[in-house]
Symmetry: C2
Subunit: 483 residues, 2 copies
């Protein structure tokens, strides 16, 4: 009687992969510590890879895919491994090959007159931002993980971040892609065109498909002129409805100069105060229910920017949609304001495990949704604490739930996580929202998606997956559960 051999490394595949990329770029657990590729960013899951393969260029990526396809081996494309939904780490089967794009990190071209940057998928976002800045230009895509995440990963997941209000999501900053298909062909769509109606938009189909339809190997990104001045302000507001009113006011007065509009509830700030006591709170006695952070990017200069921002805030104070407000007087102060906002997830982690949501809603529905969700939460899980913050300008909230003070967080999650998720997602759905605003689906939400996604849409997605990856070898089980 022979043991099942599905998890025994197939020498033929590994040998073939070694022939493609060189043996030093085919890593296995037998010879290497694969933690960096097998463990997810939040360190809540650890998979097992058949091997980690590190091709050097697009041709090698294509050859790796052809090799895996020939042997029926599933592939998990991976960038900086900063994803939050288990889209880029292998499952526990030990059968999946991790295809790391990290060696494809060249900046291929920067075109000043066309305002475009062509970079390879493995280029770290911060390096791409720097390449733009070195040319006096601006890549207006910014997220907390920018020091580790890669351009390919950012596009494969259609990442969001803090500048979506003006510049859109990652997809909106991409003009063209180079992609390796499921059968290992190279599709060259690296065009830096702002208008191109020559057939179906494969670029947008691939962006956000989380490596399940093809592997992004390079991209043309849109750049913008650097603003002459950027200013940051902080305001306390009496309610979420007031925050929405302030958003509308700021959009009317500032137009596209408004590049950031974040919101945070009182508990979010209290956690930051508790765990980052050295961070000064911007407004004294900050006991307002919500605070907002505004960012203005001005094409004219600092004086002009300051006058505009102060005018909006004065109007908001007069109208009662702000209780108090302050404009950062220098870059250090501005960075501190952003730092407070960015510390919320870290403060949450310090406080203990919590139930995270990455939801979006029509901006108009946010006050009603939050009121209903908070009330329902208190009914179902008395004492649960809501840490509510996010990119209000985009309708995107991180609506996270922490256990009651002093409770055992792990036991709380064990007992309530599924209930809380269903409660929140059902209400999100009822208000026309999305259960994944910027993080994607991955494996984490793949089984949940069918409950909320339109069934016809799901059927179309399955048909597309079948058409472009008939062997189901590209990141199988991510986005769509395999049937």
């Amino acid at each position: 009687m022979s043991a099942p051999n599905t998890t025994v490394p197939d020498d033929a595949v590994l040998s073939a992969l070694c022939a493609v990329v060189g043996p030093e770029h085919v890593l296995t657990a037998a010879t290497h510590d694969l933690t960096a590729w097998e463990q997810d960013w939040r360190r809540r899951h650890r998979g097992r890879a058949r091997a980690v393969v590190r091709p050097a260029d697009t041709a090698q990526v294509a050859a790796v895919v052809r090799t895996c396809a020939a042997h029926g081996v599933p592939i998990v494309p991976q960038g900086g491994n900063t994803g939050l939904v288990l889209g880029g780490v292998p499952d526990a089967s030990g059968t999946e090959v991790v295809l790391s794009l990290q060696r494809l990190q060249r900046v291929r071209a920067l075109d000043r007159d066309n305002l475009t940057l062509t970079v390879e998928a493995g280029c770290v976002l911060q390096a791409a931002q720097q390449a733009a800045a070195d040319a006096g230009l601006w890549l207006p895509l910014s997220l907390a993980s920018e020091g580790s995440c890669t351009v390919g990963g950012v596009l494969a997941t259609n990442a969001g971040g803090t500048q979506v209000l003006r510049f859109g999501n990652a997809r909106d900053l991409c003009l063209g892609l180079e992609v390796v298909t499921a059968d290992g062909r190279i599709c060259n769509g690296l065009r830096g065109l702002r208008k191109d109606n020559t057939g179906y938009d494969l670029r947008h189909l691939l962006i956000g498909s989380e490596g399940t339809l093809g592997i992004i190997t390079a991209a043309v990104l849109k750049l913008a002129p650097q603003p002459a001045a950027q200013l940051t302000a902080w305001a306390s507001v009496p309610s979420l409805a007031a925050a929405v009113a302030l958003l509308g006011m700021a959009q009317r007065h500032l137009g596209p100069a408004l590049t950031g509009f974040e919101v945070m509830n009182r508990l979010a700030l209290q956690l930051v105060q508790r765990h980052f006591a050295e961070l000064p709170m911007p407004l004294p006695g900050d006991a307002a229910p919500y605070a907002v952070l505004l960012e203005l990017s001005d094409a004219e200069g600092e004086d002009h920017a300051r006058a505009r921002l102060e005018a909006v805030l004065a109007h908001a104070l007069q109208q009662g949609c702000a209780l108090d407000a302050v404009v950062a007087t220098n870059l250090t102060q501005a960075r501190t304001l952003w730092h407070i906002r960015e510390c919320i997830p870290l403060a949450q982690a310090q406080e203990g495990l919590n139930v995270k949501h990455d939801i979006s809603l029509p901006v108009s529905r946010i006050p009603a949704f939050c009121a209903e969700a908070e009330a329902a939460l208190q009914r179902r899980v008395p004492g649960a604490r809501l840490v509510n913050f996010g990119h209000l300008g985009d309708g995107n909230l991180h609506f996270n739930v922490q256990c009651p003070p002093g409770a055992d967080a792990a036991a709380f999650l064990q007992a309530h996580e599924a209930t809380i998720n269903t409660l929140v997602y059902d209400l999100v759905h009822a208000h026309g929202g999305s259960i994944s605003a910027e993080h994607g689906i991955g494996r984490l939400k793949a089984a949940t998606l069918p409950r909320y996604q339109d069934p016809v849409a799901l059927a179309l997605m399955r048909a597309i997956k079948q058409a472009l990856d008939p062997q189901h070898l590209l990141n199988p089980g991510r986005v769509l559960v395999d049937r």
Copy 2:
């Protein structure tokens, strides 16, 4: 011996369609003049429809599609019939049913706080613009045919227009779609969300697919606050390279307030002068090689806008990238400047038949491309006159060729159209450009596309078409030639 009966109306289908939409909304040539649906906008082609069917709502659209699918009858979805590439008119076979969306024209919702407008596909673009304006908001999508074209058509073809520089193409203004699939199911994606990463982006796949993958029945469109002031300026420039330099200067100084940047060559303006003699030219003795039109949309007010625009123009004059410049002093003058630009295609038509191109290039390549293309054109077709104008800010040129003065235009086209197309498109391709920037492919360019589109991209498009419309009944032969 019996005659072939492919063009004989199939009573079973027509009866079934009558049962769905009512007999008064199934029009045939036997009882109606079908010119409005069978003839294309440029009046160069006249097809023949088996019938024109006019459903009243989405459910009827789905039922019409199911009926046609059951009988294997091809469907040509049609909006305002303003397309320029034979994408929305029937072919000559008499077998295709035209499915007109014109009765689906309701404004379903306007959400002020969310800045969204939900409209049905048959709503005329101008009516949608008006619905936004009535609420004090702005639908920043504007094209010459806006009085006739429909929202559905604009999205199905990913139309461009004059405000792409700041707001993007039609696809960039759409947050969600309602779509009828090839098998007559309704896919409800009418969500007004700025962030939504729940699976593949079907919206962007459908937008620009020209009715070949599904039929758009409604859409959620993004709105913007109305600008406080809009100003228009005109400048003569010594060369295309100077125009590109002026564009960069304007983008740096004005940022996103620059909402329009059009370019026109001398001949384009001379034709307007000849055929619209009553239109005053903005600058005296306008003999510069090129002129540009700039539009500034300002969130603060007219004085502020004027000071900014004058500062940019003064700088341009000083740097030599403008020879002369004028800012419109009132709305009438501004409209006249735009009117001159918009009269170019009309003046061309008055001058006689011509060879039209709708191309895009990286902005940085435009001067070199135009120099090479113009020289090659003169070598191959001596005396041919180039009417070159378009949306320079988007890299989109209408690079049109008129016969030598006094020559027979029809004979000229007969002799040279194919040669000129190949010459222009080959050069566009060599410079990394697109043979269809904003008009689409339709039937007109479907046979040309494979020469210039990446072969792997074409294969993926065919796979997607096969997956979503396996019977090939949705607008067959448009975008992709049937094989």
